[in-house]
């Protein structure tokens, strides 16, 4: 892999802004705006390009490779964790063009050209930064294996909430229900998310 910005062989990097680091692709349709992957891919490994946590990266992947495997094995991402490998636990959640999705259940080639944000974003947008703080303050990470996924789900939930400050505990529980935790951090997670929603914990 390489961090070096590079024009793709199809010259599709044109919508990338001038900054080297994009601070979280928070709007849908962010990223490199590459079209859906060309008609046919494979059988040989194919190159995918992503904006990962604000940095342009590329990897050559077998076409059957999941986004989760691509992120952790090809690109060295440490945030997504694969616990079930079939969309049932949320530990592998990342944001693809601003939407939280399980990276174990996407193929890397299918997110070619997109903007992928993980909980490890080096320049976290304010919501992500606030969530990190709140998770520490409320002790919402025990073993921590579910935590990156929890934070991505919470980030998504807060960003897309209509009236963030009015979020209720019930709504948080419902929206986070797809994220499993075996250490039982649920109570702390709800408290942390609500603390950010209500502005009790902020980025700064």
């Amino acid at each position: 892999m390489s961090d070096a910005p590079r024009l793709s062989r199809r010259g599709l990097f044109r919508t990338v802004g001038g900054t080297a680091v994009l601070s979280g692709c928070t709007r849908e349709g962010g990223g490199l705006r590459r079209p859906a992957h060309p008609e046919v891919a494979g059988p040989d490994p194919t190159e995918v390009q992503l904006v990962l946590d604000g940095r342009r990266v590329r990897a050559r992947v077998p076409i059957v490779r999941t986004l989760a495997t691509c992120l952790t094995e090809d690109l060295g991402a440490t945030a997504p964790k694969v616990a079930c490998d079939r969309g049932a636990c949320g530990a592998c959640m990342v944001r693809v063009d601003g939407r939280a999705l399980p990276s174990c259940s996407l193929l890397a080639v299918d997110v070619d050209g997109r903007c992928v944000d993980t909980a490890a974003h080096p320049e976290p947008p304010p919501l992500l930064a606030a969530l990190r703080k709140a998770f520490v303050e409320h002790d919402a990470a025990q073993c921590g294996y579910c935590t990156s996924g929890m934070i991505v789900a919470a980030w998504d939930l807060l960003e897309h909430a209509n009236a963030r400050a009015d979020l209720t505990e019930d709504e948080v529980r419902r929206k986070m229900a797809g994220n499993l935790c075996r250490c039982g951090t649920h109570r702390a997670v709800v408290r942390a998310v609500l603390a950010v929603a209500r502005g009790e914990v902020t980025a700064s």
Binding site: T78, A83, C84, A120, C181, R182, R187, V190
Partner: protein, 760 residues
């Protein structure tokens, strides 16, 4: 046990008059920032250069004899670097999922394809995966001979080893008997007799079992392991590969859960350590083995099932005269289907008690210790039986418990809980709704736990360093399972050296940092924290001596004054004092001695304290749909001196969540026709989640125990022992009829209600 000594490990106890400034304060865990920022690297993410990916070929049948294993279809595939057999012709298959072979390849996808390509021939044999079928005459035998017990650091170390012989598929575990139960039952005014069942549930740590082995020449290796016991991995790898233990470096910087299933280099049902090491040797490259969720559910351990016939004898006025439990349970091919200590050792004012438990072997992966081995099973049956008996007698079940439990702390915990939980009001409300026949009922229940202070002497060696620039560091090879021991290390050292937690650098999670204990049996804190205090006190002494010499006062004239150090009439900052050290600074190692006291109340067998803990549960039950919701848990626990209330409370809340899964949602289903796990995933195996989260109220009763130099005791296991039992008791209170099997699913509730209607 003798009265507590004046000093512990040569130090004054942190007793009632001790006023800590760091220890006992809610403290953010030091690894929190790395975890929340996704920077913490777990075993599953370690990528040494040249890394290969391993996969294990597993039996798809539950019983049979291996006829042949052909690795060549795998070895011919591009990208495959090594393939080894893990069974040979003639090997007996005893459960679906058993190891057959392993492969390593350049990508995980190729490794999986290569594993699938290995050709295996197995002559299938009859098998049995169900408890009743295994007990039937003529059932296929799981083991031909006696079975060796597999004990881990997750087991209760005071429990005797099973010596009974296997008859059919049944082997007795050591029985507990006191008094004469049969005679007492004969003479009792009231005898209550019922049978309770608990399912197999699985540990489900979100991080699967994972191991990466990198050889360094022929006689040394580095092992990254997702383990609850770095040193058991080290010793096992050294033994398996004939290496000196010092030549095996084991690293577990962050651990994604374990709950009892991650001791040793091998998973309970899979020789992962051997496989990864042998593949890496053959391929001459590091190999990573990460199990998938099916393997986790089928192979890597579970909490054994149980069927318990409970008989209670009582006098008409509510004195218990007999407790008798006859239990059969299955740990698959493994051992250890006991039922803990609730029946035998909590209600000891009942004079006649007997517990006889049996392992029933089935063709399923081996069970292993899971957060309080045997205890949640036994607690469920005994505590619910007590409530049923109390109802017959017209007694308050809380009063019945207090009347028979001599433990002073647990008795106090009951009283605290009674207030905090509004026990009387809740019981009255439940009764009113029940009598009125309301659709939505509420109920309240309570249950107890028993555990011991299993802190170990002279195992953990903690090193404290103080450098000339005033920096302080502590190191020990312990793994942090999420309980927060790394933070406690920093707290204890900060306390003794009058620093802030942030001033203390902690190194942990690596076998080169000094021997430590496994994270099992709730023994980590009470083994490691006192060793840290001993080391820190030595460092303090060394520092004071250096200051005394430099300033020209006797060492006794040097003391802390807040964060400063006073020497005679000079006041120095900590950094100024450290500047008197030589270039090497201070480096001292400490360990703790034997448990010094069993105060305030002994664990069975004596020599160590007994930990109490009670939990109250409130439920809401919809009698039309059978749905049960736990609305509140009030948990009142003791664990000596709480080192870090923040992380300790988290651990208790986590134990409660795990207990709610046991109560309401979790069950591993075996398919009797294929012998395989039907729900070997996380969508059909139902973990408790945000939907199950009740109000959780955690309260600690501080106990001054002179057991060790910090007075700390573990809490990991007691936190989950009584939860399911309390919920089951609450459901009984709501319905007036008991659901005698876990999990308490809607169909079980409806079945119990219809039984009640049929009853005359």
């Amino acid at each position: 046990m003798k009265k507590p000594p004046a000093t512990i490990d040569g130090l004054p106890a942190w007793g009632p008059s001790f006023r800590p400034t760091v220890v006992g304060r809610p403290t953010d865990r030091i690894d929190g920032p790395a975890k929340v920022a996704g920077r913490a690297v777990y075993t599953t993410h370690v990528r040494p250069p040249g890394l290969l990916y391993g996969a294990i070929v597993r039996a798809k049948v539950a019983a049979g004899i291996v006829e042949g294993i052909d690795l060549s279809p795998a070895t011919k595939m591009a990208g495959v670097r090594a393939a080894i057999p893990l069974a040979e012709p003639g090997s007996r298959i005893r459960f679906a999922g058993q190891d057959l072979a392993a492969v390593a390849a350049t990508t995980p996808e190729i490794a999986r394809a290569a594993a699938a390509a290995v050709e295996v021939r197995i002559a299938p044999a009859p098998f049995v995966v169900d408890l009743d079928a295994a007990l039937a005459d003529g059932a296929p035998r799981v083991h031909e001979a006696n079975v060796a017990e597999r004990r881990t650091e997750g087991d209760d170390p005071t429990e005797a080893a099973a010596k009974g012989t296997v008859v059919g598929n049944v082997r007795p575990l050591p029985a507990f008997v006191t008094g004469d139960v049969e005679r007492a039952l004969d003479r009792a005014d009231v005898v209550f007799d019922a049978t309770y069942e608990t399912p197999v549930v699985t540990h489900c740590a979100l991080e699967p079992h994972a191991l990466t082995v990198a050889w360094d020449g022929d006689d040394a290796m580095t092992v990254w392991a997702s383990t609850q016991s770095i040193f058991s991995v080290r010793d096992e790898m050294a033994e398996v590969f004939g290496l000196a233990p010092a030549k095996v470096t084991v690293i577990c910087e962050h651990l994604g859960g374990g709950f009892g299933a991650k001791f040793g280099a091998s998973a309970p049902g899979s020789r992962m350590g051997y496989a990864a090491g042998a593949l890496a040797r053959e391929a001459k490259a590091p190999v990573r083995l990460v199990l998938d969720r099916r393997e986790e559910q089928e192979v890597t351990g579970h909490r054994p099932s149980s069927r318990q016939r409970v008989r209670l004898g009582a006098t008409r006025d509510g004195s218990l005269v007999a407790i008798d439990v006859l239990a059969h349970g299955s740990a698959g091919i493994g051992t250890g289907a006991g039922v803990g200590r609730n029946a035998a050792h909590i209600y000891t004012r009942c004079p006649n008690r007997r517990v006889r438990a049996h392992d029933v072997f089935t063709h399923a992966g081996p069970g292993t210790a899971m957060r309080a081995p045997g205890h949640p099973q036994g607690a469920f049956a005994l505590e619910l039986a007590l409530d049923e008996l109390a109802a017959h007698l017209g007694k308050d079940p809380l009063d019945l418990r207090i009347a028979h439990d001599p433990h002073p702390v647990r008795r106090k915990e009951y009283e605290i809980g009674r207030e905090r939980f509004s026990w009387d009001a809740r019981r009255a409300a439940a009764k009113a709704a029940r009598e009125e026949g309301a659709r939505i009922r509420t109920g309240a229940g309570v249950a107890a736990s028993i555990w011991g202070d299993f802190g170990r002497a002279r195992v953990a060696r903690v090193t404290v360093t103080v450098a000339r620039d005033g920096s302080v560091a502590v190191r020990n090879g312990v793994q942090d399972i999420g309980g927060g021991i790394a933070t406690v290390l920093a707290q204890v050292v900060a306390e003794v050296l009058h620093r802030d937690v942030a001033d203390v650098t902690v190194a942990y999670g690596r076998s080169t940092l000094g021997r430590s204990v496994g994270s099992g049996g709730s023994q980590t804190t009470s083994s490691v924290a006192p060793a840290a205090r001993v080391a820190a006190e030595k460092a303090k002494q060394a520092l004071f001596e250096a200051v005394a010499e430099a300033v020209g006062v006797p060492a006794a004239a040097v003391a802390f004054d807040g964060p400063s150090i006073r020497a005679g009439n000079r006041v120095l900052s900590f950094a100024e004092a450290c500047a008197f050290l030589d270039d090497d600074g201070i480096e001292v190692t400490g360990s703790r001695g034997p448990t010094a006291s069993d105060l305030p109340f002994p664990f069975p067998g004596g020599g160590r304290a007994q930990i109490g803990g009670v939990q109250f549960a409130a439920v809401e039950v919809d009698t039309w749909t059978g749905e049960v919701r736990c609305t509140r848990i009030t948990a009142v626990h003791d664990c000596g001196r709480v080192m870090n209330p923040k992380t300790t409370e988290s651990q208790v809340a986590g134990g409660i969540m795990m207990g709610l899964g046991y109560a309401l949602t979790e069950i591993r289903h075996m398919d009797p026709t294929t012998g395989r796990v039907l729900n070997a995933d996380l969508e059909r195996y139902k973990l408790p989640g945000f939907g199950e989260l009740p109000e959780i109220d955690v309260h600690f009763v501080p106990v001054d125990t002179p057991a060790n130099a910090t007075g700390s005791v573990g809490i990991g296991e007691p936190a989950t022992i009584p939860t399911a039992a309390a919920v089951a008791c609450a459901v009984f209170d709501a319905l007036g009829v008991a659901v005698r099997r876990l999990p308490i699913t809607p169909d079980a509730v409806l079945a119990a209600l219809s039984r009640e209607e049929e009853a005359p």
